[in-house]
Amino acid sequence: MELQHINVKFLVARPEGVDLEALIPIFHGWIQEQAWGELLLDVADYRHVYSGPGVILIGHEGNYSVDNTDGRLGVRYNRKAAIGGSNLDRLRQAALAALRLCKGLEADPSLEGKLRFNGREIEIIFNDRLLAPNTPAAREAVRAELAPFLQQMLAGSDYSLSFNEEPRSLLQARVKASQTFSVEALSNHLASVSSTVV
């Protein structure tokens, strides 16, 4: 099974305190600076939509957002362009990109520390229904693919893994770590493993 177009979403703590409007100037500022080493294009504002994609920083290779899909607010990376390497490499790439966004937002003074990863809950979504259909067999295959990745990211800690089993939904794994982690810690765990991503 080839996993492409991977999304990783880190759920935020106390979502009711997060002001999505404050993200708009932050994202525009990042486009001005083009400091991320990849092409950032525009900002899409969907705050008016119920449980929607929130505010999106549209990129050429991937989108970055603070996303409220399913009513679960989280910091999300959506890899749009296909990417080489192994499934593990691609999972790491998407997770590191989402963590980078987390780090940037947690550090931004205009958010006054109100947007923070809750330390335990992560969603991993596969945005391609042909490569990763939401079937029992594909879910089992993904469970096996996720094991080494989660082992790395959570540094061997226990976690629970569940799936959204609505067959029309994208294949989506929900991970809950048994202990809390900082964004920094998760980034360090993943960065310590060498990458072969092309």
């Binding site: 080839e2 492409q4 177009h5 708009i24 100037p25 525009h28 486009i31 001005q32 083009q34 092409l39 294009l41 525009d42 899409a44 504002d45 969907y46 705050r47 008016h48 939509v49 119920y50 449980s51 929607g52 994609p53 999106i56 549209i58 050429h60 989108n63 899909t69 399913d70 749009k80 362009a81 296909a82 945005n127 391609d128 229904r129 042909l130 490569l131 029309r168 939904s169 994208l170």
Partner: protein, 751 residues
Amino acid sequence: MKSSNALWKEHFSGKLPEALASEIDIFETEVALKKQGKRDDRLFAETRLRRGVYGQRYDNGQRHDGKKVQEMAYPNRELLKGPNTLWDAPGMQRIKIPGGGLDARQLEILADLAEEYSDGIAHVTTRQDVQLHYVHLEDTPTLMRRLAAVDITTQEACGNSVRNVTACSYAGVCQGEVFDVTPYSRALAKFLMGHPDVQNFGRKFKPAFSGCPQDACALTNMHDLGLIAVKRTENGQEKRGFEMYVGGGLGAVAYQAKLFDSFVPPEELMPLTQAIARVFARLGEKKNRNRARIKFLIQDLGIEKFKELVLEERKTLPHDPRWTEYLAGAEAPQEEPLKPAGELQTLGSEAYQRWLKTNIRPQKQAGYATVTVALPIGDITSYQLRILADIVRRFTKETIRTTVEQNFVIRWVSQSDLPELYQALDAVGLGAAGAGTIVDIVSCPGTDTCKLGISSSRGLAAELRKRLAEKSFQMDEAVQNLRIKISGCFNSCGQHHVADLGFYGVSRKMAGYAVPHFQVVLGGEWAHNGGSYGMPIVAIPSKNIPEVVTRLSDRYVAGRKNAESFQEFVKRTGKVELKKLLEDLTQPPANQTDHSFFKDWGDPREYSMGDHGVGECAGEVISSIEFDLAAAERKLFEAQVALDDGEAEQAGKAAYEAMLRAAKALVKADYLDVGDHPEQIVAEFRTRFYDTKTFFDPYAGGKFAHYLFEAHRKAGSPHTLDSARLLIDEAQLFIEASHSCSNRTGTLVGG
């Protein structure tokens, strides 16, 4: 770009309707040829536009970031998908929904596509289409295949073609309608799709059907072709027909449609439209796109002369059995309910009561109602679309339509089911009350994604909606029922001309800054199919528009006489007085201390007109001969592929067909009804282009024409690899000569 595109093609192989599959294969080949540098930018732009593949803001590779214009570092800035339009820049995919009609499976596929190829949002437009934004060009053939699998096409969704045929979303269930226009609108849409007579327009052509003259649901007055259901009695028998209107349109200067015929019987609907299309294609402006809509042709000719020409053309049309075949069963009921009729349940929460008041409309069929699902500025998430699919399956026989107010209407709901249906909608944020009221604001994409946008129509709409939603139910009822419509520029995609309070984006200089403004347009008439257009009053800075709404609504409540409508109030008050009321709002607040006033809604960048681009609404003016010659080249490409695969027979046959297509392209420009028979094509080509020496090359004379004659003479003979290769070379030369002939003769064959 998605890595599964090739797999999807394989997945759908042999499973799609043949015509749609072939159309998508052709487009995919065009994309490949363009990528190889084998297609002209303009030709390819029109090719993709005719499949609904639109450009989007910043696709010229430049964006003003608030401080400066940035060159966007796409991987390949040399590769274009149209004039000054970068290949890799994301675009918009428009999806045609004839009459707005959808079923549950179609809703689910739209949900999947929004998620996988766009940004998780499907957007309902003011012409009942659905649009997806931020789509990569190379994903579009896959997207089209997935749509085709549920009988949706994007063919002719943009470009200089017949756009979506819209129809009243209450057709068939409306208490005030004359009859159900649904089957007629579908028949016309089917008939015109890909029809040769609609391929050579200078601009787009928009038809609309309404079931009655009094409501607004189809806005026939502002369409190129408007059809309103009427009945008359002939020899004691009641007959159905249509009032036919032509030449309406919005844009910078809005035109009301003119009556063409007060009674067009159904069997004349298609031939008369075909004749109109031919006259428009033949006489409509091609070079100056600002005067290329049919409204200008009618204005120049006068309606009587235009009518005379159309009726003359009608007489020359060869009979087409589809004119009546497509209408079979039109008078029979088109839909039926899932559940028995029921009684209206009025007990419930305050929110439910409000929803009942604004979003429910009893049908003409007792015990049933329509339910409007009000979408905020036309947006809906993939998850909501799936739940909507569940809801229409649970309560109806999947009877749902998009509306010109960017909403959905669920039809055939048993009235006793309304409380449960409300709960199901409300659980996913689709139970908002206020459909068709002041909070149900219509907006085009504006500066969010449109290349032509001047001001942020969606930003303003979202802001007004937020402010008004908080107090709308405390407002005077006369104000609650006002309509607000916003366009990002004068092109009027937000239909501001037919709103009580209309706004369109303009720009002004203030204190040395460019400042986003909206021109205030008051008193347009939504009813009577967009019965009259509003009056421009004054341009106001964007950030002052909420105050404009407050002042005008307060003044209306305070100054309205008896049950005076807003249109009557505006007319009586007059432009001078209304301008005086708003005059101070043309200036920034006196105590302005920061620059936020000079920025647009929802956009913290310093405002600039630097992003304003060249739009694609008008499409590229490409004559049908250019398309037909492109089709010949495509066939030749197939021949070359077959030869490479060692398929001599297939290669030779395709090369011959490529020559026939090129010959037909030339003949057709001179003689539209040439048909598809090889004998006739070759004979007509000989008479019109060989005997007259029109085709002759200045140096080679009639040599290339002989390639065709010889290939035709030998058609059916077996091919070897050598003979096929020779024929491919000859076909290539013949097609080149056809291009040269077209270029030399210009107007003769270019139309």
